[in-house]
Structure formats: structure tokens, C-alpha cells
């Protein structure tokens, strides 16, 4: 831009917005997550077989036309259990992430905006929590709240809140120094309005990326907890406890471990790809640069 010759009237170089194909990571990630969500929704309502029904005649059957993904040691249909497990896992993950994001954003915004002693005390506490590995913290909390579906949500939600609070606080601190925040104050906007109108929307891009990748971690953590026997109690299926249950039979019935494992891996891959794509999309500065 060598000169600034601006013209009154219509804008000069605005390109007509063409329908562009989404980025490849959005397509792959979106497809994977789409399949996951569809499976979870279906699994919540309908499964080919009852995922809890025992059938000792068919135990450890290999994948066949009858049981597409085979059966487990009690003769339960693996596909049905995976579908039901997807519903449980996704539901737990969504609630956990929501809890962590709401709590973390509130804490981070408050802390970053207040600064001073309030900020120091909150952040010292936050850092202490961060110092524990999330899963260890969740294990401890589960011991307190009890190992069930809602216990996991609360425990993992609390365990992941500090990292959200950190990210939000960091973003708030850097945004606070920007001149548009000063501009908002000169306009006469109240602190609350400035926070809601200027600071929060600018936190959304990093938050979205964090939330999507956290969704993956939570799914993994939930599986890990179930694997350790501290998650959703059996016989209700989750991917984690299916993986755990497959361990003794890895030699005879390899599909018992492979399919839940594959589900977890593909979901994580999909979430990470989608997370990047969503960030690119949400930030107006990234639009049109691709």
C-alpha cells in the first residue's frame, strides 16, 4: 500500500465472497467427529443388540455377519457396546468441557482483569492445582465424590479448570494492554461492558482451540479412569472399560482391544484437526489468507 487514496462511495477492492471449499483438516476432522456424534446419538437410542445382554453361547466370537465386530468374553455384541459407550463418553466429555470452560473463563477473566493481590492469590492456587497431573487430581477427587458418571464429570471438570483459567488470564493480560481497551474506557464504557464486549470475544479463538483439544483429553482421561476401574462402573460400557476388559483376551480375541482403541484414536485425531480448522475460521484475521 503505497498511497492511501481512499474513495468515497463503495469500497474499492472488496472481492465477492466466493463459496470456498473448507480446508482439508476441517473436512477430515469434521467427518470423523460427525461420525462420532452420529454414532453417539444412535447409540443412545438404538443398538443392534442390547449391549448388556449376556450370551455365553457366543462368547469371544470373531467378527461375522451376525456380530460385525465380534463379541466379548460374556458374548455381548462389541458394536452395540461401542455405540452405547460412545454415547456415554461423548456426553461425559461435553459436560466436563462445558464445566471447565465456564469455571475457568470466569476465574481467568476475573483474575486477569482485577490484577494485583486478587490475581496473585487466585493464580497461586491455580498453579498449585496445575502442578498435579490432571488424571491424578481427578483420581483424588473421584475418591471423594464417588465413582459414577457425574462424579467423573465433576472430578475431570475441576481438574481441567486451571488450564482454562491460565489461558484466559494470559489472553486478558495481553489484551488489557492493547489500545482498544483504553479506547473503550475513554468512550465511557463500564469495566463490565468492556470485558464483555472487547475482552471476552477476543478470548474466544484461543478458548475454542483449547476446548476442542480438551474434549479429546477428557475423552482420553475418562477412558483411562474407566480402564483403571474408577470410571463408569461395569456393566455399563465405555470405551475405557472395554479396553480394560479386553486385556486378558488380547491373545485370543484381538478385536476386543482394537476397536475401542481405534475409536479413541480416530476421535482424538478428528478433534485435533477440527480444533485447528475452527481456530482458523473464528479469527477474522485468518479469513481470506488461505
Amino acid at each position: 500500500m503505497s498511497s492511501d487514496s481512499t474513495t468515497t462511495g463503495s469500497g474499492t477492492v472488496r472481492k465477492p465472497s466466493r463459496m470456498k471449499l473448507p480446508a482439508p483438516n476441517a473436512i477430515v476432522g469434521g467427518t470423523l467427529i460427525g461420525i462420532l456424534l452420529a454414532t453417539a446419538c444412535t447409540g443412545a437410542l438404538w443398538t443392534p443388540y442390547d449391549p448388556l445382554k449376556l450370551s455365553f453361547r457366543e462368547k469371544l466370537a470373531a467378527p461375522s455377519a451376525l456380530h460385525w465386530l465380534g463379541t466379548d468374553e460374556f458374548g455381548r455384541d462389541v458394536l452395540s457396546r461401542l455405540m452405547a459407550g460412545a454415547a456415554t463418553s461423548v456426553w461425559i466429555s461435553i459436560l466436563t468441557v462445558t464445566l471447565a470452560v465456564i469455571a475457568g473463563t470466569t476465574i481467568g477473566l476475573f483474575s486477569g482483569y482485577m490484577r494485583g493481590w486478587t490475581d496473585r492469590i487466585i493464580m497461586a492456587f491455580n498453579d498449585a492445582l496445575l502442578a498435579f497431573p490432571g488424571i491424578l487430581l481427578a483420581l483424588g477427587l473421584l475418591a471423594v465424590v464417588g465413582a459414577n458418571k457425574y462424579g467423573i464429570i465433576v472430578a475431570l471438570g475441576i481438574a481441567y479448570t486451571p488450564s482454562v483459567a491460565r489461558v484466559v488470564r494470559g489472553t486478558v493480560l495481553s489484551l488489557r494492554e492493547r489500545e482498544f481497551i483504553a479506547a473503550s474506557r475513554v468512550m465511557g464504557n463500564s469495566e463490565g461492558f468492556t470485558m464483555a464486549r472487547h475482552i471476552l470475544p477476543n478470548c474466544i479463538a484461543p478458548l475454542t482451540v483449547l476446548a476442542t483439544s480438551m474434549f479429546g483429553y477428557v475423552l482420553l482421561a475418562e477412558s483411562a479412569l474407566s480402564f483403571l476401574g474408577l470410571g463408569v462402573p461395569p456393566p455399563a460400557p465405555t470405551w475405557g472399560n472395554m479396553l480394560a476388559g479386553s486385556r486378558p483376551y488380547i491373545g485370543q480375541a484381538v478385536w476386543l482391544g482394537i476397536f475401542p482403541g481405534l475409536c479413541i484414536s480416530l476421535t482424538l485425531l478428528g478433534i485435533n484437526l477440527l480444533g485447528d480448522a475452527v481456530r482458523d475460521r473464528l479469527d477474522p484475521r485468518m479469513r481470506g489468507s488461505r
Binding site: S2, S3, T8, G9, F180, A182, N202, R285
Partner: protein
């Protein structure tokens, strides 16, 4: 004067193109630099001046391809040199000073070692000889404690000092050619002049030729014997400095010249009863670093400032960095809490509990320095400009919409811009939006903190003109903060000169510019050119001198 010897640097028909898109960024550029001569390349950002100069060193970004032309340094073809020869040439025969003193020195290396690096590489000297040379050079660039500087890190020096050190490190090797790419752009006006003087002096003493790249025509004209004017990759004009200034041939050169600040006749303002803003004995202290148990020592930014701004008046506050001018603006805007003193707006003190507070808040607006950070990146232009109207009582949505459209038209941006985001606009356009946002409520007082210092010269001139126009149209008073007296000359009715948190001089613009009393004011003035128009449509520059530097020939 230039025919006596073979050129030191001969660039002929140089053409550079960006690989993928095929856009030509440097197009058929030819110029020469003779030994001991200072040649300036002038152009705005995007004119290709930096690329052309970097090609001389053999530094071309990977995406850029050489399409044609030759560069001969001392008779040798730079493009055909082996990497080894190129390395010998860089540093020992051609030196380079970059724009950004903050990043061009390695922050984790001692100054002494950084200076030693080049010497050790290119000269066969032992350590004590090198040390003596370095100390000598540091002394000649004006460092007070050269011994101490050897064991100091770059962050311990100010920008001006770093640029001197950079210059020292380059001149140590006594290169035949010095490439200086916007060497003083990041510095404030007074320091800028000191560094330039030093550079000229040092290169003259070592018989080094200089290729000075800058967007500042005034500065280039002052120090260079010849000027090459570049615009969008083309050389539009080149010749002796006096000729270019006095008889510019190309329209672009004329545009550059007309973009230099000029003074308009002083305005007569109506006698006012009460000042719109009255600041008395304002003291602002910033708390020092706090530990857990002790309070840090406060740093005093303003030492009891008193100023008045009358309705309709434009008051310029001028000073170098650290003079407290920005703090003054921010405390009047309500962004910094004064430690003591009083600020009255329309005769009433500013107090949040006061009923008059809203009158102040709605009527006192601010334009910030950096158009890249003063606009919320997530809001469209329409939203940005409409936001201040939210707090104006008794305005219907239709009124607001009409007002936004009106103001956008006033700042020269049509409705087509309204739905765009700030990142889609150029710096100048963004600053227009920032001005639009400040005046959309029709405030009676606007604080402009360095509103044009982040902009290119011609854009700067346009924005200044716009600001001037709007001020006359709407009659708001203005506190115009700047480090550059040249900018102020064009807009101000009255000038206040600040140094170290105190006012050193104030008065009507013409008095300050024509008859400065305080040495600091004189120094500031010596850094900006005065202009006289010539009949051919060009200008003649003259330089004001401070009383104690008669040695400089303007």
C-alpha cells in the same frame, strides 16, 4: 563531481520478481554510488527500496527471484560471486545498519564480543589490538564509558545508543560502502539527528560511501549529494539533491515534497472566557516495582504541569520519549490517575461521582498512536464507529446509523468499508477509522496521541490534512501530542515543549518556531527542515541551528 572515478557500486537494470505470483517488486532499477559519496534512496513502504539495497549484499529473500540486471561492486559482479567471496565482501567491504536497533544486536551477547566478532573474522589482529580499536571506535561514536560498554548487554542501552553501537560495529571494519536501511526511523527526532550527524562524520573520516535508504525526503536531502526516488519498484527520478528538491520532474516526487509539513497562516481564535480544559499542578507518579513487603520507589512522570486549552484551539505538546507528554494526555483522558493536582473540564473538576462527569466523558475523546492495536480486531468498521454512540442519550437507532455513515464519509471512507474488519485496511485507513470513532459523538475536546507517527509520509500528510479539516469543520479543541515538530507546525495554534516531565517552553506556534528560547526547543527545531517554496513547484530546505553547533553545515 562524479565522473572522476569508476563507480564503487554500479547497479544496472536490476529486476526482481516474486517467484510464485510473478509480481515485479524491483523493476529495471539502475543507479551508481561513487567512492566517498552519500546517495539516498527515497520511497514509501512497498517501493522496493529495501529489496534493491539488500540485493547489493547478495541478500535476497528466497521467494524473490533475480530476473535480470547486474550489480557490480568494485568492478566485481555480486551475483556471480561465490558464497565465500560474498562473505568476505559483507562486513569487510560493505557494512549494513538496519532499521530496528532493538533487534539488530544479539540480546544475549556482550557488546564487546559482538564488536569483536567481525574484527576477528575479517582482520588479522591480535586480541589486544582489536580491543584498542574497539575502544577507539566506541569513543568516537560518543559512548561515555567505552570500557564499561564492552561488558554490557544491548538492553542496557537506549535505542539511540544501540544504533551508535551498531554503527561502531560496522565502521570498525572501515568498509568502502555502508548500506543504511532506515537507520534512524525508530528513534525520536533529536536522537535521529545526532545519529545521522555521527554517521556522516564517521563515514567522511573513513572515506566510506553511504547508500541511505529512507522514506524521509527531508533527511535524505539534508545528507545526500544525490537522490534516487523509487515508487512501486520503479526509479521515477534521480539526480542531485538540490535539483530534485528545487525542480522535481515526476509527479510522485512532487507528491512526496508536498507531503512535507508546511505552515499555514496563524488563525485568529475568538477570545474565550473559560478554557475547555484547565490542568493545574498535575503530578503523576508511577509506583515502582513492588516486592512482597516493600513499596517500590515511585517514578515521577509529571512534575506539576499546568496547561489551558481554549475552545477551538489546537495545542501541541512536543517532547522526546520519556518527556511525559503521553502521560499528560492519558491523565486528561482519565486513563491515568493523577497523584495530585487538578484537571477541570469546562470549569468543573473531573470526578466520577460528579453529575458533570458524563459531560466530560462524552465530550473528551482520544485518538491513539498505533492504529494496529487501537481497533478491536473482532468488530467491523461500522460496529467500531457506532460503539461510542451507545452511551449518547436520546439517539434513535436510525440517528445512529445516519451518524455513522456521515462520519465515515467525512473521514473519506465510503459505506463500502463499513462491513469490513480492521485487518482488511491499510494503516492510514485504520487511523481514519480511529479518528472517526473519536469524533462520532461530536466531542468538544480530542486528545491525539502521536496520531500519525506510525504512518508513511504521504499517508501522514493526508491524515494530517483530514484532521485539520475536521477540526476546522467541527471546531473541537485538541491536544495534539507528538515528538515531531514538523507535524505540529502544520496543525497547532500553540505549542508546549516538554522535557523530563516539565514544561520548558510554551507559546504561540510562530513564536516557538521562529524564535525558540529554550535550548531543548532549539534542538528539537534543528531536527526538522524548514521549507521555502521555489517558483518551479519545488522547495528549498533550510535548517535551523542551535546556538552551540555552528560546526554543522546545513
Amino acid at each position: 563531481m562524479t565522473t572522476k572515478a569508476a563507480p564503487l557500486l554500479d547497479v544496472a537494470n536490476l529486476t526482481l520478481r516474486i517467484g510464485g505470483s510473478g509480481r515485479t517488486v524491483v523493476n529495471d532499477v539502475s543507479f551508481q554510488v561513487f567512492p566517498g559519496e552519500i546517495v539516498g534512496i527515497v520511497g514509501e513502504s512497498g517501493s522496493g527500496k529495501t529489496l534493491a539495497a539488500r540485493a547489493v549484499m547478495g541478500f535476497i529473500p528466497p521467494a524473490v527471484r533475480l530476473e535480470g540486471g547486474t550489480i557490480r561492486f568494485d568492478g566485481q559482479d555480486v551475483m556471480a560471486m561465490s558464497p565465500k567471496d560474498l562473505r568476505t565482501m559483507r562486513g569487510s567491504k560493505v557494512g549494513m545498519v538496519f532499521q530496528e536497533p532493538m533487534t539488530s544486536l544479539n540480546p544475549s551477547m556482550l557488546i564487546g564480543r559482538q564488536l569483536d566478532e567481525g574484527l576477528a573474522l575479517h582482520r588479522k589482529l591480535d586480541a589486544s589490538q582489536r580491543r584498542a580499536l574497539i575502544l577507539d571506535m566506541l569513543r568516537s561514536v560518543g559512548l561515555r564509558d567505552p570500557e564499561g560498554a564492552l561488558t554490557a548487554y544491548p538492553h542496557q542501552f537506549s535505542g539511540g545508543m544501540r544504533q551508535r553501537i551498531m554503527l561502531a560495529s560496522v565502521m570498525l571494519l572501515k568498509p568502502a560502502l555502508l548500506l543504511a536501511d532506515e537507520p534512524t526511523t525508530a528513534l525520536d527526532a533529536v536522537v535521529q539527528r545526532d545519529v545521522m550527524e555521527l554517521m556522516v562524520e564517521l563515514t567522511k573520516a573513513n572515506d566510506t560511501a553511504v547508500l541511505l535508504i529512507s522514506h524521509d525526503l527531508g533527511m535524505v536531502a539534508r545528507y545526500c549529494s544525490r537522490i534516487v526516488v523509487m515508487c512501486q519498484g520503479d526509479v521515477v527520478e534521480q539526480g542531485l539533491s538540490e535539483d530534485i528538491l528545487a525542480r522535481p520532474q515526476h509527479p510522485y516526487t512532487r507528491k512526496l515534497l508536498s507531503a512535507m509539513p508546511h505552515r499555514l497562516p496563524a488563525r485568529l481564535l475568538p477570545e474565550a472566557k473559560t478554557p475547555i480544559v484547565a490542568v493545574s499542578d498535575l503530578v503523576v507518579e508511577y509506583p515502582g516495582r513492588q516486592g512482597f513487603f516493600r513499596k517500590g520507589e515511585a517514578k515521577r512522570a509529571l512534575h506539576g504541569i499546568s496547561i489551558d486549552v481554549k475552545p477551538g484551539e489546537v495545542v501541541a505538546v512536543v517532547g522526546g520519549s520519556g518527556s511525559g507528554k503521553t502521560t499528560l494526555g492519558q491523565s486528561i483522558a482519565g486513563l491515568v490517575k493523577p497523584t495530585s493536582g487538578e484537571i477541570r473540564f469546562n470549569g468543573k473538576p473531573i470526578q466520577k461521582s460528579d453529575a458533570a462527569y458524563w459531560d466530560y466523558r462524552l465530550n473528551c475523546q482520544m485518538v491513539f498512536q498505533d492504529p494496529y492495536s487501537s481497533l478491536d480486531p473482532r468488530m467491523t468498521i461500522r460496529q467500531l464507529v457506532a460503539e461510542p454512540l451507545r452511551l449518547v442519550p436520546d439517539m434513535t437507532p436510525a440517528d445512529r446509523k445516519a451518524r455513522v455513515a456521515e462520519v465515515l464519509a467525512e473521514v473519506g471512507l465510503g459505506d463500502g468499508f463499513a462491513e469490513r474488519y480492521p485487518h482488511e485496511l491499510s494503516g492510514g485507513q485504520r487511523q481514519r477509522i480511529a479518528i472517526a470513532r473519536a469524533i462520532v459523538r461530536r466531542p468538544s475536546f480530542v486528545i491525539a496521541d502521536e496520531p500519525v507517527s506510525a504512518l508513511d509520509v504521504t499517508v501522514r500528510a493526508q491524515v494530517l490534512e483530514l484532521f485539520d479539516e475536521l477540526q476546522k469543520k467541527h471546531g473541537f479543541s485538541c491536544l495534539f501530542i507528538s515528538h515531531d515538530l514538523g507535524v505540529v507546525e502544520q496543525v497547532a495554534d500553540r505549542v508546549i515543549v516538554m522535557q523530563d516531565g516539565k514544561i520548558v517552553e510554551q507559546g504561540p506556534r510562530d513564536d516557538i518556531f521562529d524564535n525558540p528560547q529554550h535550548p531543548y526547543t532549539q534542538k528539537l527545531l534543528a531536527a526538522v527542515p524548514g521549507l521555502e517554496s521555489t517558483p518551479e513547484g519545488g522547495v528549498r530546505l533550510f535548517w535551523r541551528r542551535t546556538e552551540n553547533d555552528a560546526s554543522i553545515v546545513g
